[in-house]
Symmetry: C2
């Protein structure tokens, strides 16, 4: 590609905060201590569904070192969540084992824990419902009065384009299946955190692990009734988020209430068990899917009907159908699509945002059926995909405008990497499979603004500061921003400091979600850097008696275009602009709002300025004696527009593949009767380094015209197609189709035995 | 005045940080702790002048908990100070009792202190010189090889305008005296502080009590050889500075060196004794002054010759003659002036910047002589001052361009407040005296730029952030900045957050000195707010289909000019500008560089864009039995251009008068043979609340055309004329002239006795 033209874009730059992180010197929120700080802890429900008869906090209150104990009685009725269905502290009844009943603030964590044990809660247990299909049936226990069948009206959605009935009737092959997807969770290395502190004037400062500082400021204001103008949110270094820190949860207003009540700073950090039980999950899905194609392999129709387990309350999980919908409507060219979804309350832990935001589930469904259709038609699944692949310039039935699309190249390169043709359909226990994806890569307009603001200042020593609305939550955004600014100004990346995620200081941004940061914040940073550059060049032009447009900057030098040998050091020019009569400093601004639209009532519209594509091809070996699946290799070909930082792109792919591998083979949050049975890393089977296969990262660059230096977002995608690619490879290896993740040895063995039995029957 | 037109300017707004300060909740640097932080301490010289024969640190190094011990041997030869004459750690010889010989970093302060005791230094004591006049004599002990007579060439300066010889020859009265001024020191409630921390990438962050973050960044870079682009300076809340935190001192690079050596954050805080002995002082002055006037009271000539005690090294104290010079050349209209000054090294503690920066000394000299001339002429000293008072439009012999001057009004109002005519020259032991001043009030161009940068952002909730280069060191600058921005945008002051003094975040500013912040940073903040206002009004105009120039903002509302009854809330308009296609956020910039010039080689030039004036009139009572002077009342009339915050102006005047009162009557750092004998608040007689007289603060507004809303700087002036006003009042009360501060009972009694004797002799 064009990378050679760039000085810093396209270069392998280690994350700016890597040295601090690998040496353990970084101070995460958990390391934060303020003078007089108290420790908050939360008492949660013992039952998945129960009436609270009485709460006795008197013994806890009497414990020395306890500064406050609060229950729902002590606060106004505060409700949070997408459907405003979630009381911050529970009164009357509890609906899941994560439910917050009381909270304490004490001088140390041990005292706070002891106080929780001293709170006596009397319950009357209620029958619960733990399956979303059961929950919708008449007579099922009802969680919320305002949702009679455990469904809120706005949690039932339908989308269509074309006419699926007509599509199926014109098909040569139609298949129909039920697939199911499990509870999994984020497993952030850093657990959730908040530290709340009121100034004597009543101004609230919150240090948080949030991914969305500005919406968090708004949410805190709305629930607490404190004017947003009196709230400052500072994002502390985040030890992983993956969507789990996208929403505000009850512990956060609770912590603020404890700070308000005690007049002291209060910090709450989750234990690992809380992170598993109380944190949001990826929503389990029951999915009926029907797909059709013509004999030549042309897709004709796709009909999907989903039931999502919302858990007891609504977080962003209830809105993931909007992302699933895009994959169902737009991954591969399909003229007729219908999608119905219902999100039902259960007494399970509740579902939230998690990397991919519904897309891993939707992609598992679509790509399983793509593979099955190909087999039904006797086609090579790769050829089938190539035939139906999206192309640059396509506008899908949903109105998704695909500006650049590297899907064909991704399919071909991933296949090549696993020597697809040579390995597929061989009569051994080895097999290859693949799956692709579409995902927003140029923002996602789900809020009135999808923009980001930036300022750039350059000091007298050539030190550049980018103050950016963007949020680095470990994904490396700061480094990419620094590269973009460095490229534009022609100064080393090490000279660029990135300041972000402090609502008092940084310009607005909607937050880190939808893989939008490189694209949106990157464009914003670039605009600010371009403004700074023009300020410097104008200054230089005046000093040198040249025209600004005849000058250029690179490698820390300013020179006449085409004459780099005669140059003036960058910082010297900045100083000479500053240190002269009527001088000025370099202080620039940038604001970028992607040219997108919100979806209409029928869910149509182009919500992103660009779209990312990818194909992962995997080779597996199945132990037919044990059912164990070993992934030998994953080739991950991702269309990222342009890799601003190939090392960071690879890191995203490695991390995503690990997450996808866990989703495909190992991970499941085991929830029985609403109780989480494996809330720890010993029992929750997160893949370790030893479980990781060889990964071939293949960067496909399509140079998107709207992206900063051509880049598109690529963070979420890496985890999305891995599981269906594995499932498809298992089918190629041993001829069994696992439709229920994870693909455990038990399931494979059972399927192999059934297959054997059914073959013997024939 | 015009104050009624304003919503927030001219209003009594309590300091924004007052609640945090009065409740003790503010975290000063001394409250800062970082993980792994070590405590640094410094071993200082036992002698005022000695050869170091040997330093044995072995026992200190062996002490458990000690992480580093450094001496001059461990570091390159690093020199700091205005004349680069000050080694950071001393090798070879020590020149004063404050000299840094070794430094340790240890896990706690006790261990660090113990380690200091274990360092064994062998000295050979050298003869010292403790009087600057003695120091200049041939044969005096020489401190620095490069300054043979204890004078650096650049520490000898001469200024003139007109021809003093001619002036004296045309005079009807000429008087000549020697006046002397003592060592005094700042007595900040918060002692000096630094915390230095290196990131694993080698980036240095320094939290400091500095008044000049950007010059400090440069100075640290220069002495340490670390690129300034790798240094971030953050000003912690400062517990008073008054000039003492204007320079960088050895403990600061020492702390950085300890952090570098240990790989840990290191904090150094001064003990109260260190603050007295090691901190800079106001320079003692020996001054010969000669003044002449005509019979009608017209000043003819002023000739001043000064010797300053520099102490052993050069800090900014050596440059205070530049400020003294302005008062000598320009306070009252004097056609002929000559000023010679020499700054001599001694083995005393060294002199630095202190509120007024030489002006208290110069004003004591000038105003004593003004008073004496009036008496010689038989004129009312008030009338004499009025006759010679500076006037708006004057350009003085030094090139000082006086745009607005309220001196006449100040003299009249201060006199009126103490019922001057009624009380003066009465034959009782009570008396009135007055003194005036001139001081820069519109910046002071001593550096290639005297500017300040600002950004203003407005969030969706109407919260306004000013990111300002200015430095609040307790003087209340943030509050004044907030008022200026609030006034311009028509939003409550409480909605404005001021972020300052972090070199990575805030735009450049030269620092808090020369009473420049309200004027320079205020103009900058106003420009940024005006930019923000125009962004909002342009957005509103588009939305409303109006012209921006037809709209106005006030009281949180936007309306058609003249039609405030029909309005749209400010924050709603900001949101509607943001939340629309092609929207934008409010993100503005300001840069203000005052239209001034650096002095030429003959010290001529207009270094400030405005000048402040004041007159303080005092009434005293003298106990003729004990010599004790009691100040009954101080009327302080200050021309401040406009009082942005009258409460803050009064606070400055109260604090300044207290400092001036101490200078006049009580304070002296007693230094004998280079040893400070009273390094504590028990022995150093700082005035307490009980010592304070009634203070009548009289704000004179001259609405300076260059100032923000007409304001001029007024912070330093309040301490400047108090001492001479008291001395003049003592003369009026009992007829004795004390020419040597402080005016202790002993001196008064001695003078009364001498007067009595001389009267008896007659």
């Amino acid at each position: 590609m064009m990378s050679k033209e760039f000085s810093f874009v396209g270069k392998r730059v280690p994350k700016l905060d890597a040295p601090e992180k690998v040496t353990g010197q970084i101070a995460y929120g958990h390391d934060m201590k303020l003078p007089r700080m108290l420790y908050g802890k939360i008492l949660r429900s013992e039952y998945a569904h129960a009436q609270i008869l009485n709460i006795d906090t008197s013994r806890a209150e009497a414990l020395p070192g306890v500064r406050a104990v609060i229950t729902a009685e002590d606060i106004p009725d505060m409700r949070i969540g997408w459907a405003r269905d979630h009381p911050v502290l529970k009164a009357g009844k509890v609906r899941s084992v994560r439910d917050e009943i009381a909270a304490v603030a004490a001088v140390d964590e041990d005292t706070a824990s002891e106080a929780l044990e001293l709170i006596k809660v009397e319950y009357e247990e209620l029958p619960g419902v733990f399956d979303p299909e059961e929950a919708m049936k008449p007579g099922a226990p009802v969680l919320h009065g305002e949702a009679p069948n455990n469904i809120q009206e706005k949690m039932r959605q339908s989308y269509y384009h074309g006419d699926v009935e007509k599509g199926f009737s014109e098909s040569d092959v139609v298949i129909e299946d039920r697939l199911t997807l499990p509870f999994v969770t984020h497993c952030c290395m850093g657990t959730s955190f908040i530290l709340a502190d009121f100034s004597p004037s009543g101004d609230l400062t919150v240090w948080s692990s949030t991914q969305m500082p500005f919406l968090y400021q708004r949410d805190l204001s709305m629930v607490l009734g404190i004017p947003a103008s009196k709230i400052r949110v500072i994002k502390a270094p985040v030890g992983g988020a993956f969507g789990s820190k996208l929403d505000m949860y009850p512990f956060e207003p609770i912590c603020v209430l404890l700070a308000q009540r005690t007049g002291c700073p209060v910090r709450i950090t989750y234990t690992r068990e809380e992170e598993f039980v109380v944190g949001p999950t990826r929503q389990p899905v029951i999915c009926d899917v029907k797909s059709g194609a013509k004999g030549d392999g042309t897709l004709t129709a796709r009909q999907v009907s989903m039931i999502l387990d919302n858990g007891a309350y609504s977080s962003w999980g209830a809105t993931t159908p909007l992302v699933m919908m895009q994959t169902i409507s737009s991954l591969y060219r399909v003229p007729n699509v219908k999608y119905d979804v219902v999100v039902a309350y259960t007494n399970n832990p509740y579902s939230g945002a998690m990397r991919g935001y519904g897309n891993p589930q939707a992609t598992f469904v679509v790509e399983t059926h793509i593979d099955m259709l190909a087999h039904e038609l006797g086609m090579d699944p790769m050829e089938f995909r190539l035939k139906n692949a999206n192309q640059s310039g396509d506008v899908t039935g949903q109105g998704v405008k695909i500006t650049t699309c590297g899907l064909t190249e991704c399919i071909e390169k991933a296949a090549e990497s696993v020597t697809w043709k040579a390995k597929r359909a061989k009569p051994d226990a080895r097999g290859v499979g693949m799956a692709s994806l579409i995902h927003v890569g140029g923002g996602a307009r789900i809020y009135p603004s999808d923009g980001c603001g930036s300022t750039v200042k350059v000091d007298d020593f050539g030190k550049v500061t980018l103050i950016s609305g963007s949020t680095d939550m470990g994904q490396g955004a700061d480094t990419v921003m620094a590269q973009i600014v460095a490229e534009e100004l022609g100064v080393p990346v090490a000279n660029v400091t990135v300041v972000n995620a402090d609502t008092d200081i940084t310009p607005w941004d909607v937050g880190a979600h939808a893989s939008r940061t490189t694209f949106v914040a990157g464009n914003s940073a670039r605009l600010a850097a371009m403004d700074a550059k023009s300020q410097i060049l104008e200054g230089a032009a005046e000093n040198l008696g040249e025209k600004a447009e005849d000058l250029d900057m690179k490698e820390g030098k300013i020179f006449r275009k085409g004459e780099p040998e005669e140059s003036i050091p960058f910082e010297k020019m900045v100083r000479s602009k500053h240190f002269r009569p009527d001088g000025d400093i370099v202080l620039a601004r940038g604001w970028y709002e992607p040219p997108t639209e919100r979806q209409d009532k029928e869910f149509r519209g182009n919500i992103s300025a660009a779209y990312g594509f990818a194909t992962q091809a995997v080779e597996v070996e199945v132990d037919t004696q044990t059912g164990e699946v070993t992934v030998l290799k994953i080739a991950a070909a991702h269309d990222v527009g342009r890799a601003i930082n190939p090392m960071a792109v690879e890191g995203q792919i490695h991390g995503g593949v690990s997450m996808g591998l866990g989703y495909g083979l190992y991970e499941e949050l085991v929830v029985e009767e609403g109780q989480v049975l494996n809330p720890n890393f010993a029992d929750y089977a997160l893949p370790t380094a030893l479980d990781m296969p060889e990964i071939d990262t293949i960067i496909v660059e399509t140079d998107d015209p709207a992206g900063p230096f051509g880049a598109k977002g690529m963070a979420e995608p890496a985890c999305i197609p891995t599981a269906p690619a594995i499932a498809n490879a298992v089918y190629d290896a041993v001829g069994v189709r696992i439709k229920d993740l994870p693909i455990t040895p038990e399931k494979v063995l059972k399927a192999l035995n059934q297959k054997k039995e059914s073959e013997e029957e024939k």
